[in-house]
C-alpha cells in the first residue's frame, strides 16, 4: 500500500522535501511507517523525537500503532507555534 507523508516546518527543512510517498506491506501500522521515514532520512531521527503525527488530519501518537491503509495521509507535526 502507498502512504503519503507530509513534512512541515523543521521536519520539512531537515528532510529536504515537502511530501513523499512510502510503499508499505499489508498490515503495516504507523510505527512501521515512522521507522521507514527515519531510515530514509537519518538526519530526522532527533527531530522526530519532538514531533507528533497526524493520520488523515487527526492527531495520533507513534506508540498508538494505528493500522494504515492504502491512500492514507500521514503528517509529521513538529511542536506547534501558530498564533
Amino acid at each position: 500500500m502507498q502512504i503519503k507523508v507530509l513534512y512541515f516546518a523543521k521536519s520539512r527543512e531537515v528532510a529536504g522535501v515537502n511530501e513523499q510517498t512510502f510503499e508499505l506491506g499489508d498490515g503495516a501500522h504507523t510505527e512501521d511507517l515512522l521507522a521507514q521515514i527515519i531510515a530514509a532520512h537519518p538526519a530526522l531521527d532527533s527531530v522526530m523525537k519532538t514531533c507528533v503525527f497526524a493520520l488523515n488530519q487527526e492527531y495520533v501518537r507513534p506508540q498508538d500503532k494505528e493500522a494504515l491503509k492504502d491512500g492514507d495521509e500521514v503528517a509529521i507535526i513538529p511542536p506547534l507555534s501558530g498564533g
Binding site: 516546518a9 523543521k10 503528517a75 507535526i77 513538529p78 507555534s81 501558530g82 498564533g83
Partner: protein
Amino acid sequence: MKNIFCEVTSDPLDISRYVELVADPGAGAISTFTGVTRNNFQGKTVIKLDYEAYTPMALKKLQELAHQVTNKWSVCKVAIAHRVGTVLVGEPSVIIAVSSAHRRESLEAVHWAIDELKASVPIWKKEFFEDGSVWKENEE
C-alpha cells in the same frame, strides 16, 4: 454552520472584516484577539515571521475550535482567521472575534480560543533575526 467562519489565508488580516462577520442584532458584545508580529524576542530584533500551515487540517481544527466555543459558551457568532506566509512587524498573524448577548461570554471565549489555537492547530512560525532564524515552539 452560518454562525462560524474560519479561514487560513495569505492575505493581510483586517480586524474590521472579522468584527463585521460576527455582527448580530442579538449581540451586545464583541470581543477580539489579534496576534501581531512584534519587533523583538528575548532582546533580539525580529525582522519578520514566516508562517507555514498544514492548511486543510489547520482549517478543520479551527472549525472544531469554533464549534467548541459555541458549545462551551452562549455566543452568537465566531470568526477565526490565521495568516500564512511572511508577516512583517506590526502585521496581524491571527484574529479571533466572538459576539455574544452579554460581555462575559465573548471575553472568556476569545481568551480560551487563542490558548487552544496555539496548542492544537498545525501552524508553525519561523522567526527571522538579523543574524539567523529559528522555528518557534509555543509553550504549554
